[in-house]
């Protein structure tokens, strides 16, 4: 015991004796994952913006109704689900298990609403003839970038909903504590953050003027 204590004293912060960032390893791991995932989305969005700016006849098919109204509502759903996630993390820190599960379920509801609206929006566009490789305006990059970027983002929302559902189940069984909920929350907020760039770049730069 005395030896272990002496050993701990000898170790400096960066020898791993204590947590140099004052956060747990799970949380640090999630942050590092978020940084790498942020770079994936950055590369896609910068590549998209390059094409968007250098293509003068880029299609602007998004009418106020339904596309812009839907995507604005989707933004509202994601932002509100981030709010409920913060409240869920706060409840977890208070050891309020029922409150945590309630807020996580509301967060899932926001995510599912987002996916439902987005799929409806996708099917509307597919119905208008926009696919990955062609569209009525003859600028195939439009469909490829639109479905590529929103598809990758929707995949993140989908995995986030699964993660949240697993978290709610784990919290109800007493398997997961406040740190787990917080780490899950970090991922969910990141998915929200990415949409804050996808929405203006993909939708708002291609609105149909009347």
């Amino acid at each position: 015991m005395a030896n272990a204590h002496a050993e701990e004293l000898r170790m400096t912060e960066w020898d791993g004796g204590v947590l140099p960032y004052s956060v747990g390893h799970k949380k640090l791991g999630m942050w590092l994952f978020i940084v790498s995932d942020a770079l994936t989305f950055s590369a896609l969005l910068i590549g998209y913006s390059y094409l968007r700016v250098s293509t003068p006849n880029w299609p602007t098919p998004f009418h106020l109704w339904p596309s812009i109204a839907f995507s604005s509502l989707m933004t509202f759903c994601l932002l509100s689900s981030s709010l409920t996630m913060v409240l869920g993390v706060n409840a977890a820190k208070r050891n309020d298990r029922v409150g945590t599960i309630k807020w996580i379920l509301l967060t899932i509801l926001g995510g599912v609403a987002f996916m439902g609206l987005h799929l409806k929006e996708w099917f509307n566009l597919i119905h208008e003839g926009i696919t990955l490789i062609s569209n009525p305006w003859g600028v195939p990059q439009f469909g490829a970038t639109f479905f590529g970027i929103t598809g990758l983002h929707m995949f993140h929302v989908f995995t986030g909903v699964l993660y949240l559902a697993g978290m709610a189940a784990g919290v109800s069984k007493g398997k997961y504590g406040a740190e787990h909920v917080e780490v899950c929350g970090l991922y969910w907020h990141f998915v929200d953050l990415v949409w804050m760039f996808v929405f203006p770049l993909v939708y708002l730069l291609s609105v149909k003027m009347h």
Binding site: A43, S54, S80, L204
Partner: protein, 102 residues
């Protein structure tokens, strides 16, 4: 309602304020989309506003403002440098635009 159990300074009131600002900035972005600016001006305006939104989400929702400074310094500068490096070729899009025959 600010109790010590609400982690380090992020009170419910502050959370709601951040959420409201995020919605307001989104509203401004949608409004801007219906004003006829050139695509370059739009890109700068929308990305500027989105960076503000991202900063709010990272600082408050993701709690980074209340973490140890070393964590912030490990994560953020590297991210900014790499994203800036990715953007290095961006001005080429303008050259491409003028080179095109249409």
């Amino acid at each position: 309602m600010s109790t010590h159990s609400e982690s380090h300074g992020l009170t419910s009131k502050l959370t709601l304020t951040v959420w409201a600002w995020l919605l307001i900035i989104t509203g401004i972005e949608v409004f801007l989309a219906y004003i006829q600016f050139s695509v370059h001006v739009m890109l700068v305006l929308l990305m500027g506003l989105s960076l503000v939104k991202a900063a709010l989400i990272i600082a408050y929702f993701m709690h980074l403002r209340f973490e140890k400074r070393t964590l912030v310094l490990t994560l953020i500068p590297a991210l900014v440098v790499v994203i800036s490096t990715l953007s290095v070729f961006f001005p080429d899009s303008v050259r491409l635009l003028h080179m095109k025959p249409w």
